[in-house]
């Protein structure tokens, strides 16, 4: 296929010569640039705290690291005492937590709330996801809810599909894992025939 036929197929034959030449240059730039990369979920999920806290200049890192380690050690002693003294039933993370999720650039109009219900003695944490604004996916593709730990999608907690952007849905999911303070969730788009976390379409607002 020639360049001319490519261009004509894409934009048609309408428009005057000057405008067509202008568009053709952009066509060439797009061809030269190639596709933008698909972001890994870790980057799609947004900037993380390490970025905004920043890394100190290299010369001072070791000293700061030692000071931080000392401060953390002292803090952990107090924190441990606080947790032991305050938790009511001896379990780790809480139930009844609702996480608000908002669409990423891949699903800018989407939003959701994820209610983490009380866990059972076996270690199941049922969850209820109410989601709106996601697009219907081609056959074989689906959305997945991933538990995020240490800033990265870690384990799947369930899958669902939607009818379209104008129809919300509510699904029941489960996190059969030992949850930790700081855990959160994202929704990813899973393409047919792929494995691992796909592109993140919903991420926590806080």
């Amino acid at each position: 296929m020639t360049r001319e036929r490519d261009f004509d197929e894409l934009v048609g034959r309408e428009g005057d010569d000057a405008e067509r030449e202008r568009l053709r240059r952009i066509h060439d730039l797009l061809v030269t640039a190639g596709p933008p990369p698909e972001l890994p979920p870790e980057l799609e999920a947004g900037p993380n705290l390490a970025m905004t806290l920043g890394r100190p200049p290299r010369q001072g890192r070791r000293r700061l690291a030692l000071l931080a380690a000392a401060a953390i050690s002292v803090g952990m002693v107090f924190l441990g005492g606080y947790i032991v003294g305050n938790r009511s039933d001896g379990s780790g993370p809480p139930a009844g937590r609702t996480i608000q999720l908002q669409g990423t650039s891949a699903a800018s109009g989407a939003f959701a709330s994820l209610l983490v219900e009380h866990g059972d003695t076996a270690g199941n944490w049922p969850m209820r996801l109410n989601v709106s604004g996601l697009s219907a996916l081609p056959e074989g593709s689906y959305y997945a809810v991933y538990l995020v730990r240490n800033g990265k999608p870690w384990k799947p907690c369930g899958w669902f599909v939607v009818a379209g952007v104008h129809s919300g849905t509510t699904v029941t999911l489960n996190a059969p894992y030992e949850l930790q303070s700081g855990d959160t969730w994202v929704v990813t788009k899973q393409q047919a025939g792929t494995s691992g976390p796909g592109e993140t379409v919903l991420r926590p607002t806080t």
Binding site: G15, L23, R25, I26, P47, L49, I83, D89, G182
Partner: protein
């Protein structure tokens, strides 16, 4: 139980819950980032993360190392935003320089690479051509982020999915004419955004 409600937020979002200034220019966002405005940083991140990742992938050729370079680039942007001077040039060019430096640093810290002596003269583009191609890709990918979603989807599918226009139309559930119209309007919008590239 309330423990997890008080756990630290995963993402760098404004604690006040203020709306992110999505309409602000890059220069305005950098000025806010210099004042440690996390919402502005998040908007800047969304605008540039694909361009930075593309730049890193192009230079490093490895997704894992490119991810690290992106982290370092945005850390550098957060840390040095106050050094940006609008009178010295466009914010996009400043961001490109900071990102490129982070990528180059990552490239250097990867250690020496065993060199092979080629039998024939390389047909690969030289450093100047590679630098120009990287800058072009940066601007094109950045400009794509500015397109309305419906145009961007069509342009990306039309150019890089391997689908014909008819297949794109079927995939999106749109008439073929609408796909062509959106492709054309997307290209026209890109031409407006990339006017400097056309000089």
């Amino acid at each position: 139980m309330e423990l997890a409600l008080s756990s630290p937020p995963l993402h760098a979002v404004p604690e006040s819950g203020e709306a992110a200034p999505t309409e602000a220019t890059d220069a305005e966002l950098l000025a806010l980032v210099a004042e440690r405005d996390r919402a502005a940083f998040e908007v800047l991140y969304d605008r540039y993360v694909r361009s930075v990742f593309g730049l890193a992938l192009r230079r490093l050729g490895d997704r894992g190392r490119a991810e690290d370079a992106v982290q370092e680039a945005f850390t550098a942007i957060w840390r040095s935003a106050a050094s940006y001077r609008p009178e010295r040039g466009a914010a996009g060019a400043w961001l490109y320089t900071v990102a490129r430096n982070a990528v180059v640093d990552r490239f250097r810290t990867a250690g020496p690479v065993a060199a092979e002596v080629p039998d024939l003269a390389s047909t690969e583009p030289g450093p100047a051509e590679q630098a120009e191609a990287a800058w072009t890709a940066w601007r094109v990918h950045r400009a794509l982020e500015e397109l309305p979603r419906r145009e961007r989807d069509v342009v990306e599918l039309a150019y890089w999915s391997g689908l014909s226009q008819s297949e794109v139309a079927a995939y999106l559930g749109l008439p073929l004419g609408t796909v062509k119209t959106r492709t054309r309007s997307g290209l026209a919008r890109l031409a407006d955004l990339l006017e400097g590239e056309l000089q």
